[in-house]
Point group: C2
Chain length 305, copies 2
């Protein structure tokens, strides 16, 4: 199976899981369905019909290292994607990044309005934990609660939300001094890295991996997250809006310090290559079983959108 | 011990738990503390130094029915209060209810700004699930994951978030027809009732109560929630801003359909008395052990702020 097939299979499974989860009947139970239709439609807009589903692929492939099937990992993969999509719905708000375009579509607040986008994001974040707590996620309660704790830590004030706060503080309030590469790296490790680390760690949790195996997947996830961010900055510096599917050259226009602006494009590309090598090194103990994860690193490094 | 003492003890224990939880060191771990200080300060502003802590009291007193101590229930009580406070931080936003005053203090967005208030709310919601997943909440993983699931369902699209969406749809987009008492009752059961039900149910979950006991506490919580809402509408119609600590007469000014506007003040007060009686009936099987919960219902019915 090629990597493109693996990604497409993971995306299809995740999409089906999410579509079922976000169907009105599933979501609302006995609550008055039609009336909250605007909220549900906005939640569906935020989640369905787009996205490469890289995080779900990482969950599924990390879990596969321990004999956990894709179907058994699907709920966890979907929960993670819900958190990712909620964060986009909130980050795109006028009060935050003020983005109108996402995956070539209007962002949630643009398609609906601000209050609907705020509530849709809140609903998706909450749904992620609802889903992780269900027996369909894993038969053992201790595994489910470990997933809840790990996802909450990755996405909270010491993780994604804290990283976004640091980023917006610099954007909105101005940096007291020019940030260092190390500061931006730490910020990005929180803002985008923590969820990618969780994606890989989740497979270890689902598979009851040893501490050494779990640590290896955390290291892989951290390297992948850093690579992801360098690649993202390079896309913003070099990509075009039609391919990327969202606004580009925003960083330069805002005179924003990024890894690329601080290092230059050539050095950023060299660091990207070194980071991919580090990601591969972390996977050594898994041998050929981890080839799809290696290809995922390659994909992140080479992505054009 | 008087009810005022029970409430004050529960509030103090909850406040201490929350203050520890929201200390920079506890919250951020190895993350760069000082830099995300604005986020943490906003989270603390949203949670600490105010609030009657009625929900934590309900958790603690419901758990006490089954021999669970206040200290053993404190983490669950704090997690619920985090969700309550996040919802206020988001609901007060200009795009939502546009409130500048809460508990006599500036709301989070007013004290900081909109993006900080959005992220602080996101961080608090996430922290609630992080906390519930920790062993300090309960030694047994199946209890912790049951709490996660119940809180997520109560606060998600079929609960609090869905209720707020229904409320804002009526406010912002206009009602296609004048809403019925039943519609408003359902909306409020989602918007405010679901968390109060969870508060009471959480005690049953922590105490591994029987299905009959758990059902009784759910019924009590539902009646309490309805009473809470009628009392809230009456306060808006009859209270003054200095006592209530937030804007009043907003509903009438907005020509908003409420239980009071549809029933009239006299009938609303009669229904409030009947609802308090129903709340007490639900507690019959617990005998005198549930007296503090009965007084909590009394408190909700008689509150002046």
């Amino acid at each position: 199976m090629t990597f493109a097939q693996s990604l497409s299979d993971a995306a299809r499974l995740t999409e089906a899981t999410l579509a079922h989860l976000l169907a009105e009947k599933t979501l609302m139970g006995e609550a008055p369905e039609a009336q909250a239709g605007r909220l549900i439609a906005a939640m569906r807009h935020a989640v369905l019909g787009g996205g490469k589903r890289v995080r779900p692929l990482l969950v599924i492939e990390s879990a596969a290292l321990f004999g956990v099937t894709a179907v058994q990992a699907a709920a966890t993969a979907a929960a993670l994607e819900l958190v990712h999509c909620y964060s986009l719905a909130h980050d795109d708000l006028p009060a935050m990044d003020n983005d109108e375009l996402r995956r070539g579509q209007p962002t949630v607040w643009k398609a609906y309005d601000e209050w609907t986008a705020i509530l849709a994001g809140d609903g998706l974040l909450t749904l992620a934990f609802d889903l992780l707590a269900r027996p369909e996620t894993h038969p053992d309660a201790d595994v489910r609660v470990a997933l809840v704790g790990a996802l909450a830590r990755a996405s909270g004030a010491a993780g994604m939300v804290g990283g976004q706060a640091l980023d917006l503080m610099a954007d909105k309030l101005g940096d007291p001094e020019r940030p260092t590469i190390e500061h931006i790296r730490q910020l990005q490790a929180m803002k985008t890295g923590a969820l990618l680390v969780f994606a890989c760690e989740a497979g270890a949790i689902l598979g009851r991996a040893s501490d050494v195996e779990r640590r290896a997947l955390v290291d892989f996830g951290a390297a992948l997250g850093f690579a992801f961010q360098i690649a993202d900055d390079l896309l913003d510096a070099e990509g075009d809006v039609a391919t990327v599917g969202k606004a580009v050259a925003k960083d330069a226009a805002a005179n924003k310090a990024t890894l690329v602006s601080l290092m230059g494009i050539a050095e950023a590309k060299a660091m990207l290559a070194r980071t991919e090598a580090a990601a591969n090194d972390a996977l050594a103990l898994f041998g050929a079983k981890a080839d799809v994860l290696r290809e995922a690193a390659r994909f992140v490094v080479n992505r054009k959108s």
